[in-house]
């Protein structure tokens, strides 16, 4: 198609780089986002670590258990909550509509968002693990567990990013997205074994939690931070890593389908 006298459109990598830069600046310069998404998990770890440092048996403290949960919650915040709120805001304030009127390849918007989620997730995990190791004597996971750590993080963050993008289409604006997604995420954290041991939660709540990704992310991460002897105290009696992967992959597919079907570049009533 390209003729010689026509100037060609910018290459995909250059636009991707530009969008990634925009998204990183948008996130890390916004104080509320940084405090809410990055600092809240850190504060919770510090407070819970200091207060609830009791023994779970086998010389394992609740802080170690909480480490896995708070990382899962941090991933949830960086992906689902962050995407739902920021995209709903950008849709209602016209940012998305503005972009849709430029020759920017549409994929570039999503690439930028993914880079943002990855950067925020990496930052959260690094800070949480550092605090855990320095202040609460948490052992870094042994070799093979890093692999589990990596795939649980990637699958969890992918499924929650896609869900966040899909959920953003339901909200009228960023404020209403925040008002619905934040309590939902908090509730999910309570029933998914973040703040309490999952085995102590009533079984019907366990069932509800098992429908959503967070429970599986926390469980996968417990296999990383806790000794295998504690797998026996999981409701299923094991870490169920195969099922963790399966559920997260299914949620990725559902999320992708919802995104493709629901994503809008403009407010519903401006077409």
């Amino acid at each position: 198609m390209t003729t010689t006298d026509e100037v060609s459109l910018p290459s995909l990598p250059s636009v991707y780089r530009s969008r990634a830069g925009v998204e990183l600046k948008e996130f890390f310069r916004q104080r509320e986002a940084v405090v809410f998404t990055l600092m809240l998990p850190v504060l919770l770890l510090v407070v819970f670590g200091a207060v609830l440092n009791f023994d779970l048996g086998d010389g394992v403290t609740f802080t170690q258990y909480f480490m896995a949960g708070i990382i899962a919650a941090g991933i949830l915040g960086a992906s689902l909550q962050n995407m739902a709120i920021s995209i709903a805001t950008e849709r209602s304030d016209g940012t998305l509509k503005g972009l849709a009127g430029t020759p920017m390849p549409r994929s570039a918007y999503f690439v930028g968002k993914v880079v943002q989620v990855l950067a925020v997730t990496a930052a959260i995990i690094a800070i949480l693990v550092l605090i855990g190791v320095v202040f609460y004597g948490i052992d870094l996971p042994p070799g093979a567990d890093w692999l589990t750590f990596a795939w649980v993080t990637v699958l969890g963050s992918a499924s929650c990013t896609l869900l966040g993008i899909a959920v953003s289409s339901l909200a009228r604006n960023g404020r209403s997205a925040s008002a619905t997604v934040t309590p939902f995420a908090l509730l999910l954290q309570f029933i998914s074994g973040v703040f309490f041991q999952f085995s102590e939660i009533p079984s019907w709540m366990q069932t509800v939690a098992a429908l959503f990704p967070l429970k599986w992310m926390a469980q996968g991460l417990r296999s990383v931070f806790l000794p295998d002897s504690l797998a026996a105290s999981e409701p299923a009696g094991s870490w169920e890593l195969g099922r963790v992967a399966l559920v997260l992959i299914v949620w990725c597919l559902i999320g992708l389908l919802l995104c493709v079907r629901t994503f809008r570049w403009q407010d519903r009533d401006s077409r």
Binding site: R19, K25, G94, S270
Partner: protein, 353 residues
């Protein structure tokens, strides 16, 4: 419901190319007088019933049926024929024809709710249309791609959102989407934001933000720039400054379609003005002859026998000479007036056509 119904007996009559082709029970081009304008079909007691919503668009239908009508002009910057757009049962644009030449500044002037934004956003590819043909830079906006968009600059009525990026970063990012962008710093100079280059987008004042919108609109070196109510909410001083910005863009040879509900703005900026009201274009003219103003009769008024008298005439000088003969000295309270642009405009938008 004002919907007409049509019976469609068989599916064989469906033509390829008809939006419903292949779906039994719906209309075909042969049956439907206006292609694409019918929207809703349903089955009723085994018969196929077409609910023909385009009965709500009688004007567009009439225009489409006119055998003498010209096809849209692919060489024009914008060419629109019989454009119609409904929101539910409300007809927002009703049979609009318009040609905008390359290089000209065209103002779409009309009161709030006249259909300006609807028309402009159809041209920009944001909104769908219910009837009519539209060519923007020779392509149908509903089907055009990235290469087409690279030739446009768009300043939306609502503007862009808040941003944590600085003005310079925003303009640079925007430039990165275009094949041959202008230098971001030159663009900032042009819109008068050089001093604010390091300020975050969210901290700009209303007028500065609108300048930023324009900077984002022109950094891609557009051949065609859309400006939807660029100065609404400005104080008179800011408006004047904005006008000089538009004039300097004209020097750069950019074609512009701008909408406004300020008469003086259309008069000051545009080569031609189209007056739109209730979704219809009631007149297209150069500002000086809008509403036949240049040839409109003058009104001569005076006081005679204690009563105020006035007479509309195409030859006011003759009438005044005549009056001068009838009165011994000064003609009492003599005044010669012509309709102002404002009078003309108010008459145009007040009159159902």
């Amino acid at each position: 419901m004002r919907a007409a119904t049509l019976l469609v007996p068989t599916t064989e009559e469906l033509e390829p190319g008809c939006p419903s082709a292949g779906r039994p029970g719906q209309f075909s081009r042969k049956i439907c007088p206006v292609p694409v304008a019918c929207s809703c079909a349903q089955r009723e007691g085994g018969d196929c019933v077409l609910v023909q919503k385009d009965s709500l668009l009688p004007r567009a239908r009439k225009l489409a049926a006119d055998p003498g009508r010209q096809p849209p002009d692919a060489d024009a910057a914008i060419s629109i024929r019989g454009l119609a757009k409904r929101y539910g049962d409300f007809v927002a644009v009703d049979g609009l024809d318009l040609d905008i030449r390359r290089g000209e500044i065209f103002a779409l002037l009309g009161p709030n709710g006249a259909g300006k934004t609807t028309t402009v956003e159809i041209c920009e590819g944001y909104r769908s249309r219910d009837a009519g043909e539209v060519l923007v830079l020779g392509e149908d906006p509903a089907a055009a791609g990235r290469r087409w968009k690279a030739q446009l600059g768009i300043v939306l009525q609502s503007g862009a959102g808040e941003s944590q990026l600085t003005v310079r970063e925003l303009v640079r990012a925007q430039a990165s989407y275009y094949p041959a962008p202008r230098d971001p710093d030159e663009v900032l100079e042009l819109v008068g934001l050089t001093e604010k280059a390091g300020v975050r987008g969210k901290s700009l004042s209303g007028g500065q933000r609108r300048r930023l919108d324009v900077a984002l609109g022109i950094v891609g070196r557009p051949t065609l720039l859309f400006l939807d109510e660029p100065t609404t909410g400005f104080d008179p001083e800011a408006r004047r400054q904005f006008w000089s910005l538009i004039r300097s863009l004209r020097e750069l040879g950019t074609t512009m379609l701008l909408t406004t509900h300020y008469l003086d703005e259309a008069e000051a900026l545009a080569d031609r003005v189209g007056v739109i009201t209730r979704g219809r274009l009631v007149e297209v003219a150069v500002p000086s002859s809008l509403g036949g103003r240049e040839t409109a009769p003058a009104v001569v008024s005076w006081t005679e026998d204690g009563a105020r008298r006035s007479e509309a005439t195409a030859a006011p000088t003759a009438l005044v000479r005549d009056l001068a003969g009838r009165f011994p000295g000064e003609v009492p309270d003599l005044a010669v007036t012509r309709p102002t642009l404002e009078d003309v405009y108010l008459r145009m938008i007040g009159e159902p056509s």
